[in-house]
Assembly symmetry: C2
Homo-oligomer: 378 residues x 2
């Protein structure tokens, strides 16, 4: 069996033990709250991981690209919610997937999109199910819960013979910028309230709303009630990351993803250790920069995954990482020699994962028990 | 012929006219300064582009990964400088390339690396040429010009039967953080002085130093003299980007790379336009954040590549970009409708390019004249 220290660096390591523990914990939480989990496939971009995340759930997933949709569908998942407003240029590809048997749902928040959707669905002679996107936190897209256009879009989707009003969907992405567990709980209430309120508005006008979909990893973890909600979407929770740890949503010990790197040099007068994992391996994500603890480009662990004190990736060039002690006292990591390997926990699992084409799977130790591919692109 | 508006978004667009103009301009500059250009293959990661960049030069290139080295070698380029200190775990792969006929040079800045290199070269029964990396600006790796270890490493590489002392190499990466053309010129002088001084130190001890290699796109563009230097390395200059424009190294009209995106929605009360190009398509790079003009995640142009006033990507999620006017007055881009396409100029060409697997080549217009692949990974 190959061990991590025989791998070429940089590469992505996935701790299957932590992954299964993280998934089991959210499954349990969803069960307690009486809600189905529709895992988001955009973080893992891998069927084995997503199969684990749908076990015991209704079987549907969320995707962020049509490439993911096609990949997961080819691997047996038929119920897919494409949770990014579909660009018109993508609608024929969406139609092709539906014709093959995918139960693919799109989202939209304007009459322009609804009309284009109905037109293209008619041209392709199919029915495309759609959810109305709700803006629960002002961070991005969506109809505000009080806007008249909610009903206008709902009526149009319901009346058009080639579209099917599937319900409402919202994502409280602003929860990533919260500063406390308390504020995430407030955000979770807002997210649920917005979705449930919109569902009520539609139903009061005799419009169908079978799906009331909410979700983000922080709100999924901290919501106290999901009454009225039918499904929760989350993706990062499978791996977690330093941003989530900084939010109090997980601990550093829950983080299942890391980047294996080799030490290639030192600048001893500065206490710097240089590795071969730069931003090409870690991503440019600096999500912890605005948190209480700035983890640089990642927190440094030994090859077994144990943090080396306050050692972080303080700087990153394309193929170089600079390790330095966050507290400024270069105590930790000074034993590291050229050729030694470290594992770097990422700020943002989605962004770091995206820089790689495969996972090297371990189960707590350093033996590589499997290599799993990731899908990428659009 | 396919036009840009028929492509699925997001995708990468390369303007071949701007590319050839940028390359010709630096070739002319290098000729005037009497120095060979060793283009860096890490930005383009594509043989057609790099072949254009070596035309009329000595034919060697720089690479940042062994994947690039193998790719360019398979495509006919034999003279390769791998400008990242080689992790020991990569040395057998380096040896394999050399055995196949690649004139691959490595860089190092410590006796530890030199000893490991000599040992592995001996095990593989080959000679590996190496350059000593010099720290000319304190930004990363390298031996400081005055350090005794320069001579220690030089003597070792020269004496060992399995290593060959090839010379010195430095990269003034701190030039990216300069605030004026004047300070880049100072940096270019420092970069050259450090390399030439180290070459002199080696030669005075009768150690060979055929190569004196310097380079970064800013210093290559603004150096007033390169006396004593034998080659310049640069990569970004082929495409340029907003960081380079912010430094005064190029203009916005020189930028050859852009990301094609579709409008998928609006938040009209905020003046926001939502597109399908988020950080997955643009990268998380925020290199202009610390410059005089913060371009967000990129400057927005129409489909022909003309900037839409001060419209920038003010926010980016994984697959969503938020366009807003940099000046706060939402005048520009308000004509954009769902399905319209825009082109986004990147902060950092290397980082944005890395998110894609191919280029859609145009020649000033919107006709796609070629599709060229990019290599990725390690």
């Amino acid at each position: 069996m190959v061990k991590l220290n025989a791998l070429e660096t940089p590469c992505l390591v996935l701790d299957w033990k932590r992954l299964t523990r993280n998934i089991a914990a959210l499954h349990k939480r969803m069960q307690r709250l009486g809600v189905n989990l529709r895992p988001h496939g955009k973080t893992a971009k891998n069927i084995e991981v997503v199969n684990l995340a749908i076990a015991g759930q209704d079987g549907g997933i969320t995707v962020s690209t049509l490439k993911e949709a096609e990949y997961y569908f080819a691997n047996g998942i038929e119920d897919l919610t494409y949770a990014v407003g579909a660009a018109p240029v993508k609608l024929n590809r969406i139609a092709a997937l539906i014709k093959k048997g995918a139960r693919l749902k799109v989202i939209l928040d304007s009459m322009d999109q609804a009309r284009i959707l109905a037109e293209r669905a008619q041209m392709n002679d199919i029915v495309i199910p759609a959810l109305i996107e709700i803006d629960s936190d002002g961070h991005r897209s969506g109809v505000r819960p009080d806007e008249p256009r909610l009903l206008e879009i709902g009526r149009f989707l319901h009346a058009s013979p080639h579209t099917e009003l599937q319900g409402v969907l919202t994502h409280a992405g602003a929860s990533y910028d919260c500063r406390s567990v308390k504020s995430i709980r407030v955000m979770a209430d807002k997210e649920r309230d917005a979705a449930v309120r919109c569902a009520d508005r539609l139903r009061r006008r005799d419009l169908p709303c079978p799906t009331v979909s909410v979700g983000s990893t922080p709100t999924a973890n901290l919501a106290r009630s999901l009454d009225g909600v039918t499904e929760v979407r989350a993706g990062v929770f499978m791996f977690y990351d330093l941003v989530m740890a900084g939010l109090g949503v997980c601990t550093v010990e829950d983080i299942a993803l890391s980047v294996l790197a080799s030490v290639i040099g030192h600048q001893k007068d500065k206490g710097w250790i240089i590795t071969d994992a730069g931003w090409m391996a870690l991503s440019r994500d600096r999500g912890t920069a605005s948190q209480a603890i700035d983890q640089g480009y990642g927190l440094v662990c030994d090859i077994n995954g144990c943090p080396l004190g306050n050692l972080v990736v303080s700087g990153a060039n394309q193929e170089h990482g600079i390790l330095a002690d966050r507290s400024g006292t270069p105590d930790h990591g000074q034993h590291l020699r050229v050729g030694d390997m470290v594992r770097i926990l990422p700020n943002h699992a989605c962004a770091t994962g995206a820089m790689h084409d495969r996972y090297h799977v371990v189960e707590g130790g350093i033996e590589v028990v499997a290599v799993l591919n990731r899908v990428s692109g659009w």
